[in-house]
Amino acid sequence: MNIVVLVKQVPDSGSERKLDPADNTVDRAAADNVINEMDEYAIEEALTLKEAQGGEVTVLTVGPESATDAIRKALSMGADKAVHVIDDAIHGSCAVQTSAVLAAALGQMEYDLVMCGAEATDAQLSVMPALLAERLGLPQLSGARKVTIEGGTAKVERQTDGGFWALEAPLPAIISTWDTINEPRYPSFKGIMAAKKKPVETKTLADLGVDAGSVGLASATSKVLDFAGRPPKGEGVKVTDEGDGAQKFVDYLAGQKIV
């Protein structure tokens, strides 16, 4: 079974992230750029499926030069090869446009399954599987906490409020995975060394047959007008419990007319 895993490089969600006032897009220099943590679950799940059923795992990324680091991370975990779409014209693209580029790249690949993370931690959209499913006419099995592939059918438990929905669809399909699905492996030293030799094919928009004018900031379907830091909160009150902490807490709630 051949699986394509979509991997995005994002600014580290644990650091202070910023938009770039020059064009209101993500400031990639402001924070460390790392593989979207949520994509590691998709990679892990793809590798587990490959180990059980054979086939190849290919990583697909749309992103700038620096995104190679995210690709290497995926390869060092055990993915076999990668496709990296790099083109300056893509800068500032909205999700609708990015999905067009990913769909075009997928159109040149052979797969039984496309897997991706449940969300990219930068914009937190959780929409890529839906966008791609719509464009490619693939079944969308999103938000998986469990995946089973049996005889050409994908069965997924979609995580919901207080439970799950059991979903079923024929392959090829697109599946996104939640962080409840598995425990992603750490790359081994051997894996890290091997990753350096694995093939990474780069493609431009021209290679994909995508018109450069249809992507990028200028033709994005939505735009950021302005942004500002959240106004800082006023100093709060802090008390140390000396046997009266509960009392002071309840008094505070009473003062706020909550109790």
Binding site: S13, S15, E16, R17, K18, L19, C94, V96, S99, E119, T121, Q124, L125, V127, A130, L131, A133, E134, R135, S142, G143, R158, Q159, T160, G162, G163, F164, W165, A166, L167, E168, A169, P170, A173, W178, D179, T221, S222, K223, V224, L225, F227, A228, G229, R230, K233, G236, V237, K238, V239, T240, D241, G245, A246, Q247, K248, F249, Q256, I258, V259
Partner: protein, 320 residues
């Protein structure tokens, strides 16, 4: 006045509309005259029409079909796209659940439009407010192509009644085969709780790794029940098996914006803040005076949760 389509989000099995629907109807009024769209199995609309009218729906489009329930997301996007092409609305507003965002995304492709997710406010010129990067940055954005589609984050708008006609209009639903690829075989409810739903609750009490065990979460539940609150948990508490994942608050969990958020034994990592930063009032109880959660807190108690929380619960119950 321009028509604005609002997709009604419904509770399962005849449980009426969710509060997010009333919020969406309220927010949509900034852009024009809201019409509600009810998508569900036959018989769904009867129980919700009145409340939709009460909150401003001039028209209630009733699109009922077993297919809408039997297959994931795609049929709903298809019916909405059909309505958008027939009615040419000024905008579409959808509650921002995982399903809502996916419907918005598919609708955007089908109608050649842009969409904005998790908006907290919509202005009359169509400008949306969004909280980016764990709520640390406030962004104003606009859709520049097609019919603007917004998903509205729960608890960011206060629902206000505005009685309207609520004229019922039946929509013929013919779901294409292309939209019937993903069958919903079963909907399984694992946890039933008598507490308010996390994203809708006006008070949330959350416990973190500091709670130290699953059994000890009864302390959190006790305080929550004394306040009529929902219970939440940090990812560390969830990963440690103290509390189920569906109660996780934060970047990869739920986003809550209650009147009062009480963080107990939670350090306040940026990913946790992402899910609770916009709460009106924040109270933190933590034994470490340096815990970053105190930077956000309107009121903080430096102390051991095992003594402070049970004592507070007792006092609150005694006041009733």
């Amino acid at each position: 006045m321009a028509e604005v389509l609002v997709l009604a989000e419904l509770n399962p099995a005849g449980g009426g509309v969710r509060k997010t629907t009333l919020e969406a109807l309220t927010a949509a009024r900034a852009l024009g005259e809201p019409s509600a769209v009810v998508l569900g199995a036959p018989g769904t609309a009867a129980g919700v029409k009145d409340v939709l009218a009460e909150y401003g729906a001039a028209t209630v489009y009733v699109a009922e079909s077993e297919d809408v329930e039997a297959y994931l997301v795609a049929p709903k996007a298809e019916v909405l796209a059909q309505l958008v092409s027939e009615k040419s609305p000024a905008a579409v507003v959808i509650p921002s659940s995982p399903e809502g965002k996916e419907i918005a995304a598919r609708l955007a492709i089908k109608t050649g439009s842009g969409f904005l997710t998790d908006v907290t406010e919509i202005a009359s010129d169509g400008t949306a407010t969004q909280a980016a990067f764990a709520g640390a940055t406030i962004v104003h954005s606009q859709v520049t192509v097609g019919t603007p589609i917004y998903t509205l984050r729960g608890n960011s708008v206060t629902p206000e009644p505005a009685p309207a006609a609520g004229a019922e209009q039946t929509v013929d639903v013919a779901v294409s085969d292309a939209a019937k690829q993903v069958r919903v075989v079963e909907r399984v409810v694992e946890q039933k709780s008598n507490r308010p739903e996390l994203t809708e609750a006006s008070i949330v009490v959350s416990g973190g790794r500091g709670v130290a065990s699953a059994e000890n979460f009864s302390i959190i539940e006790g305080l929550a029940d004394s306040l009529g609150a929902a219970v939440g948990a940090s990812r560390a508490a969830v990963d440690s098996g103290f509390y189920p994942h569906s109660f996780q608050v934060g970047q990869t969990g739920k986003t809550v914006s209650p009147q009062l958020y009480v963080a107990v034994g939670i350090s306040g990592a940026i990913q946790h803040r992402a899910g609770m930063q916009t709460s009106k009032t924040i109270v933190a109880i933590n034994k470490d005076p340096e815990a970053p959660i105190f930077e956000l807190a309107d009121f903080g108690v430096i102390g051991d949760l095992n003594t402070v929380v049970p004592a507070a619960t007792e006092q609150i119950n005694a006041r009733k």
